[in-house]
Assembly symmetry: C2
Homo-oligomer: 181 residues x 2
């Protein structure tokens, strides 16, 4: 199974993330966990989240980048689900070796992410927070899918990104012999 942890706090403004999700949600063996739908009150069921991850060969984190990193509920998920003795530390090898794909959308042009841009750094600098979270749990960090200026892309451009996303998940499913749901 491939579990996609989707975290968009404003469903009514989620055009890009919705289109991306629709590009892959019919794939066999792909299961979505939409955090803001599951936990609108921020009361995460960490056991259920860990069970889903344990049953998955591949983990996808899909969300918009807000203030340079993951949305608050995704951040809370990191804090409450990725616990010592399970995700890291002695005995914490539940995620070890599992590929992790980050699918991120941003509001800024790629060019805004530069030392002389309004965001002051290359996007890759900010990406370190999510990347190292995965790596600290021993996950295999894959080349992320980063869609810049997502809210300004037309449907056609977003559909092209959706195709890339789909191709990635199909390849991961084939590589990892992902079991069907």
């Amino acid at each position: 199974m491939i579990t996609v942890v989707l975290a968009h706090p404003y469903p009514d403004r989620s055009r890009a993330n919705r289109l991306l999700a629709r590009a892959v949600d019919d794939l066999p063996g792909v299961a979505f966990r939409s955090l803001y739908d599951l936990y609108p009150d921020f009361a995460i069921d960490a056991d259920a989240e860990r069970a889903a991850l344990a049953a998955s060969e591949v983990v996808v984190w899909q969300h918009p980048v807000l203030w340079y990193t993951a949305p608050a509920l995704q951040k809370l998920w990191f804090e409450q689900v990725l616990t010592p003795g399970w995700a890291y530390g002695p005995g914490g090898d539940a995620l070890r070796g599992k590929p992790c794909l980050w699918v991120a959308t941003t509001g800024g042009d790629g060019g805004d992410y530069a030392t002389d841009g309004v965001h002051g750094h290359l996007f890759d600098v900010f990406a370190g927070v999510v990347r190292q979270t995965a790596r600290f749990c021993g996950m295999q960090w894959l080349d992320p899918l980063v869609v810049h200026a997502a809210n300004r892309l037309g449907d056609e451009a977003l559909r092209a990104w959706g195709e890339r996303y789909r191709t990635r998940l199909v390849a991961l499913g084939a590589l990892g012999e992902v079991g069907h749901a």
Copy 2:
């Protein structure tokens, strides 16, 4: 006024942040907003937060670093309080020019934050997320106070950090002619 936005999700494990807070909370003109006490259900009163910031000459963000950045409720505060038209963008100059001091505690040794350390990067790389959040709002980013391995420091070492913290706030109060509460 100096507003200290304090965000510690586990008060019973907050020895370092509690000691640091106690080192400054009797200073005249310093007001604390303890987010996890104010909003245990994550229902932030963004108007109240903005009013406190508007009345402040200096803003302090004090919290432990969890998964390489601010705790989830502090992240939600960034998302819900720092809104366009108020904190950035056209008309969004409420925080422009205000000094921002980051007081961060980490569980790792400073040496763990290295390209060959368990965290893979210098701490300053991860700091970019919080720093750029302040800068995008036009705030004046001050040299942060970062206490590494805070949970392993003795009370005496933490008290020394508390003294440094106090000295910084006293100096900021004097420099900025901070009005007393």
